[in-house]
């Protein structure tokens, strides 16, 4: 997984690319989130449009990100969720937990 980030209307947009799996990916996302939390930027959208695959550990990373932000009064939303990840979220019934939007713009808009 490669991870880039940008800011859109005061909202942090994280753009992972490739496969979200265990190992280094976890600390990569985690460290990035903490970096923003320390700057008091706690509204985050993860753009999943370029993630082709995610295993159970990858899902764990998302959950941990969600928990981390929520514990600091922040919020994590998902955007452009691919079918594969959508079905994973459905089976695990995490759709009820994660707010997911079709586009990044919609997700950013939802924070207002």
């Amino acid at each position: 997984m490669r991870l880039s980030d940008r800011e859109q209307d005061g909202i942090i947009v994280l753009e992972p690319k490739g496969k979200i799996m265990g190992g280094p990916d976890a600390s990569l996302l985690h460290d990035k989130l903490y970096e923003f939390i320390e700057q008091d930027k706690k509204k985050v959208v993860i753009d999943l449009s370029q993630v082709d695959w995610m295993n159970s550990t990858g899902l764990g990373i998302l959950i941990s990100g969600y928990t981390t932000l929520r514990n600091t009064n922040g919020e994590l939303k998902l955007a452009s969720v691919t079918d594969k990840i959508q079905s994973l979220l459905t089976i695990t019934k995490l759709v009820t937990v994660f707010e997911a939007y079709d586009t990044v713009d919609e997700a950013v808009e939802s924070f207002k």
Partner: protein, 752 residues
Amino acid sequence: MTLELLKTLLFFLTGAFLVFLAITITRDNFANRLNRVTGAMLLFAGLGPIFVALGEMIDPATTRAAFEETTIFALHYIWEFFFPLLLLFSWIFPVDRLRDFRRPRLRYIIFVPYIMHLFIALFFDNIIEYLGDLRIDTGQEGFSSLVMQPFAKVMSWLHLLVSFVRSYDVNIFGAVSIVYVLAASYFLESGKKYVANPRLLTQTRVVLWAMRAGLGLLLIAHLGSTVLPYDLPETAKSVLMVLAVAAGAGILIFATIRYQFLDVRLIFRQSFIYSITSAILVGIYILLVIKSKQLLEPVFGEQAQLVSYAFIILVLLFFQPINNWIDEFIRSLFIRTRTDHRNVLERFSRQVISLFDPARLRSIIEETLKTTLLVEKVYFVLYDDKVKEYALLVSEDNLRRVVIVRDDLMLRGINLLDTPTYFYSLADYRDGSNLAKLLDERAVKLILPMKDADHLLGFVALTDKAAGYTYSSEDLNLLGVLSNQMVTALINARLYVESLERIRLQEEVTMARQIQLDLLPSKPPELPCARISAHSTPSRTVGGDFFDFVEVDDSRVGIVIADASGKGMPAALMIAQTQAMLRSEVCNGNPIDVVLRNINQHIVESSSAEKYVTLFYGEFDIKSGRFRYANAGHNYPILARANGELELLTAGGPVIGALPRMLYESDAVQLETDDVLFFFTDGLSEAMDKDEVEYTEERVRKYVVEHRASDPQALIDSILKDVREFDPTYPPRDDTTIIALKINNGFTPYEG
């Protein structure tokens, strides 16, 4: 007569030996003040016995009295300069404390009494004569006598004083000497507290013993007349004094050879030993040859000459082997000590070969350098593979690390080195270097690079040696070899740590697998109304699958299938925890939705957020055929109806352990005759072919529906076969767990 001669010879040899020692020590390191002072001290100490021997050589019976009046005899007092030099020595050994003196030049005052003594001894007669001449003048009448009278008075007093000093000089200056030795041993003793290095401490102790021995003999010589009932003759006194010096010098020689006192190099120490052993051996042989000639003559008469030649040849034949043998013996006694360079290397190699703990290795290196080379302080800058950076470890506190940035100029300079190098010669790399600053603060003098191929593993930084000794070329050679050995040892230690890590991981995998296997039921329960089969394929790395059957009560059996996220030990512990929780919740008689809610809350609180378990739990009522379940984010189990219809068991809630306070709903299905329930984990549906195309849940569902007529075990076997055909690399990267339940043909629910 023979005794006299022996005594003279002994004096002469002692003196010569001391002078030899003095020259050796001074030559070995003239730049060092300690070596210079010690050399001078021993030189004067050696002159004493030589003068005594010279005195003895002149026939004492006839010319003694006359000789004692000569200038040559008076010159022998020069040896007394030994005492002020001894005092000076005690100020600079083991730690140079002269630097602390406010007026260092005043130290030369200590020589004044002895200069006076020599002056009086040399010119005493002249002075007496001169004073005597002046006294004559006062007897005359007239003006000149009036003027001269006060001078004459002064002169007569002086005359008296000088005569007094001259007649008791041995006692007066003997007393002064004792005071000097006492002061010196006091300063030496007080200097001990500045010394931390064990080898230097031993040297100091030995030197102190040398002084005590000398002092004891001096005291006997001078106080003998008052303590002992009889007065010692002059000769005995001087013999005792010379003995005192010889004893002191002897112990000093011992310290030099045995404890590398003054850091005298091996080659000089060896030359000592060789010279002495060879000289003694030659002396004994010559004595033997002469004696043998005397013995042979009466027996062999004319042929004695011939026999004695044969004897000489025999003696010469044995000379070399015996000399070698004595050499070896003495070397083993003195030279090959713990501080000998070759011994250091041997010992060091032996130690580090079996040493794999990096911290212990560092302390051994440090100890070796401190004890053998008397290095005052040792610092390590080492590359840490894990964090990929160089850091300075403060030796007295290995926990403190000062990180050196990769592009530090000094670090780059050191990277170019191959051999031990003086820090000052790296002046080109100082600009803006933090490392240079750190090394400056620690007064580092020498850098020992440790290189593996072209990679700098780090370096050892050494301060000056204790007592201000400097590094010799012999030391630098030793350090070069040592640093090569350190490289090997460091690499060994690192490989060892890595292999330990691998073993640990391997053990963890084995343990995790064992935990997983222990948790799995040995065989499915046997039911009157249905058949159950289960299968579990562990993956190459241990995943987090598990399944379980729980006897809820007489009529209900619980079925659990779950998959913990992650792999290895964390996943294994997670499922162990979940299983224990579930069993206890079920036994407490809680309804299914409450069971999952409680497990979730418990796991959330006891594990980190990214860890979770997908879990399906259902209870089958064997009488009614009802199957009540709740699905916590697990792959939907398949209900393939006998008529080919497909239902998915989806009701429930989110995965277990991700988020707190989750709620779960339960649902129930009524199972009829020949219905098939098929539970599985994602290892089955996510099996991939070589193009990374997944087997998919749809395909699992389709397969189960198509093969619903099969017996449960046959269904499991055939779907596994199908997956293996799809994915030849099976077993897959994730574990696969399958449970199949089929209702017996003709089952009629009991309506209660």
